[in-house]
Symmetry: C2
Subunit: 552 residues, 2 copies
């Protein structure tokens, strides 16, 4: 900058505000596509798979249908692909198709307290937007609700209006029920890396054992991830928020929408675990009459309720409404995929995080076998060829991106693994599996790949992992002892074999008899040692279960 | 789950879609406050400071006013604070106040191609929302555009309507110009950590040397970050997008809004570096007539243009419109704060990333002195007490959170620091300063603390850091040699002092004369060695500048 340039002239506010404008949420995401996960060629493609698959699984589960999904990716040119997603779900009533696929912040999930994969009503419209932004082409939706009328709709997004621009709409008859979405994408790339569509679908299959998922890759290869369970998953049910951790603003928001006539009945109908006995207990802790109209609650009164709730004891949230993958299913999946030397699955009981939101944690730890992430390239010093791998899931949906900022990753890394006999966690052949189950997952962005650092969530994951760590430690030290015992046995037996002929000569007794006696002695000694050690282990384990929490 | 429970009954689509609803963008962010940076007690408070300060700085700069900001935080109770932000900016016309502070996706910045800190029209409304969500209280805005009429407005957000709910509005006379925002927050915490408000303001002062920032902390302590430059920064000017890296969708979007009659004139008026000569060149590369109406461009034609642009050569984007902090200012700031042994500032020339967006990178590397992040607690083996620190900025705004997922962090960590004589980068007393300047920063979420991984941005940062690394290496190896030379000199001088009397006796010459000669010899030898090494350095440097890029 030259120093002689003209001095800056001040501008008046009125002049500056001439440019004031409002934009639609679609315009916002069109400009900020990275917020939705559309950054990078591979990630963009995986995001499309993710949005359509989670939507299909949610639809099937809500309708009580055993999901059958098919996803096909075809390459049309350089960085140019076509996708086709098909499900056997309930279908979408034709009048809702445009909003589902082209209006952001519209859907059936946002305002309900149910555990579903989707929660915002943004994702599928994001697919339409991204397809349109990169190819100018509409997406094609075919859907039938089972009435033999298939509706086929081609639509674009009207970005400024956040609504659909219908390109074509037709109806024909067909015996089918489900939804099929087809579209083109440019500026994306397919590969088989651990962040690609294949791995996304594989992990989805692991966490959703009741779903049958067929994938046809750009080379035409067909992979069927067969279901390992034919039990229709329990449809999501409404979960009442829990009184613990409730925010004043939330309480007032609920109060605004209630039909109850009194605060007392509002509280017991709106929140879980608030019985009329609890309402009576509450009455003693607040300064106003709980017979008051809930729609007239003031901020100060609501604050009194929240503070009183925090002091009171409530039963933990019920597990009803929360749908974990299940210990047995996780074990089955871990065993079949990782074939580990050791595995343990821990499921915690439901807890609550801020806003009274119930959640639950499932973790698994697998060691040895195919556990861990194979390191390509140089074999490390010390012979390690696997690095620890963290498989993150939220409501059974794999999270493949933004690992470093995620509360799940941070929880795993906050565990002092050395305590559990893992000398170098980073470089150990270990897979840690974490599933966060909740009716509301506090993602850090609309792309939903990373969970915000809620204290209670981090704590619960840590507790589960510490539990798994203790179980691993016991296994690990037993294995070490087995190994040491075998070495000891070998040494002692070697001595015995050498000693036997000498003793035979000295004592003039049968060498074979002496060797037999010596062998017996050695085995007996080792057996007693083992018994003693097992006893020790049991005492340790007993001590362990009384040990409730570890300080950071 | 008991096995005898009733089988799941299928539900029809119509039943499922009864719950279909649209929500406002404010409802969306109310539910997903973490997207805006409202997660964690400290982060939430820093986010409030960030939103108000960036808004004030943008307003002052746009109006051509030397900014004077005051930020006060007072503690009212446990996790309960009051904030007051005041600036000497242009003020806000009263009719715009409600939209500025209570309507999301409304503002003067979203659609303009200017380099500003804010870009989405979400941030300040987010402050109102967060304040209301945690305290139920409205924020108070006082503003005067310099007409002696101060408008004082108290407002809340009507969440379902994404608009203001006016609580109070008054007008009084006063000789003042600027804006003041006051509000209460709960569930937040103040501390002086490197992610707190103090550090946020300190870094803001570093990167905005023309701003005078006064901070009053909850203990009543007043800190004035004085301006080190009184030059009014150049107001942001419109930057035309660059033809390189342009997306088809963007091109068509621009074409929709143009007044130009022909594609040729549309291109040269809309894009930078597209002269009429370039338009003629383009005509030869496309199959249609550029005299066509730009509003009638088809996707295929637009695609032809984009492909042709990619093949053509264009001048790099102009630096006009991009407002770096400046080498001198960064140096001044780095020296005054870090007092390093060595520092280097590298500013790259403007480049373009996807969508034709011009950007520019400034980096600084400081070593020794107070550089690096002091490590509290144990002193590490090897004596290291500082860890490398990365100070990230986007358009002179400090980024304090979400470091691990940020392209700026990733770029720094992708440099092979060993090449430049930094044996253990993580544990070295080094501060790396990176500022990304652009009319559009591709943040990963609405919280704007982390930049998405745009290839070109990562590459540019890496190039700048490699350049800085080479300069550091030369300094570092010289320092090492100085150190080695001194050690050598000391040894040789010790021998000389011992040798001199012996030689004196043997040769019967004056001991002092002999010592003088020996000293001269030693010095001469070291001088020649040094000369040779310098020559070597210069050759290395010359070789270095021809070395354009390093493979990963």
């Amino acid at each position: 900058m030259a120093d002689d340039e003209a001095p800056v002239k001040e501008k008046h506010a009125e002049e500056l505000f001439k440019e004031f404008r409002e934009v639609s949420v679609t315009e916002f995401f069109r400009k900020n596509r990275a917020h939705l996960g559309y950054s990078g060629q591979l990630r963009s493609l995986t995001t499309v798979v993710h949005e359509l698959v989670t939507n299909s699984l949610d639809a099937c589960e809500e309708a009580g249908i055993l999901p059958e999904l098919q996803f096909e990716i075809r390459q049309l040119g350089q960085e140019h692909y076509k996708f086709k997603a098909r499900d056997n779900g309930p279908g979408i009533p034709v009048k809702h198709i445009p909003k589902v696929f082209a209006t952001m912040l519209a859907g059936t999930k946002f305002h309900r307290h149910v555990q579903l994969r989707g929660q915002q009503g943004i994702g599928v419209s994001g697919v339409t937007l991204f397809s349109q932004m990169t190819t100018g082409q509409p997406i094609t939706v075919r859907s039938c609700t089972g009435d033999n009328k298939v509706h086929e709709v081609k639509l674009l997004v009207d970005v400024t209006k956040n609504s659909a621009e219908m390109v074509e709409s037709k109806e024909y008859s067909g015996y089918w029920r489900g939804t099929e979405v087809e579209g083109e994408l440019k500026g994306v790339a397919y590969n088989t890396s651990e962040r690609g569509p294949y791995e996304y679908l594989r992990r989805t299959a692991i966490a959703n054992p009741f779903a049958e998922i067929t994938f046809i890759d750009p080379e035409g290869r067909k992979t069927v991830f067969k279901r390992t369970s034919t039990k229709v998953p329990k449809p999501p049910t409404e979960m009442k928020p829990h009184p613990k951790g409730l925010a004043v603003d939330d309480l007032l928001n609920y109060a605004k929408g209630t039909d109850a006539r009194h605060v007392g009945s509002f509280l017991s109908t709106t929140f879980a675990r608030v019985s009329s006995a609890k309402a009576n207990e509450l009455q003693k802790l607040v300064t106003f009459d709980l017979n008051k109209n809930p729609r007239k609650l003031t901020w100060a009164e609501a604050e009194e309720i929240v503070k009183a709730f925090d002091k009171m004891d409530f039963m933990a949230p019920s597990s009803e409404g929360l749908r974990p993958i299940g210990e047995e299913q996780i074990k089955k999946a871990v065993l079949s995929i990782l074939k580990p030397e050791f595995e343990v699955v821990i499921a915690r009981s439901p807890k609550v995080f801020s806003g009274g939101v119930p959640f639950q944690i499932e973790v698994a730890l697998a060691y040895g076998g195919n556990a861990g992430r194979p390191v390509s390239g140089d074999i490390q010093e010390g012979g390690a060829i696997s690095k620890a791998e963290i498989m993150r899931f939220a409501n059974s949906t794999p999270l493949l991106f933004d690992a470093s900022g995620c509360a799940l990753t941070k929880s795993v890394n906050s565990v002092d693994w050395k305590r559990y006999g893992v000398k170098d966690f980073e470089n150990s052949p270990m897979t840690i599996f974490v599933n966060l189950i909740s009716m509301y997952v506090p993602y850090t962005s609309a792309g939903k790949q990373s969970v915000a650092e809620e204290e209670e969530i981090i704590k619960e994951i840590k507790m589960a992992l510490m539990d798994a760590g203790r179980k691993f430690q016991i296994y690990h030290s037993r294995m070490r002892r087995e190994f040491e015992k075998e070495a000891k046995m070998n040494t002692l037996m070697k001595y015995s074999t050498e000693l036997a002929p000498a003793l035979s000569k000295l004592t003039d007794k049968d060498e074979k008899k002496i060797l037999k006696d010596l062998t017996h002695l050695v085995k007996e000694k080792l057996r007693i040692e083992a018994l003693e050690e097992e006893l020790e282990d049991e005492t340790e384990e007993a001590a362990d279960t009384t040990f409730k929490e570890e300080k950071e």
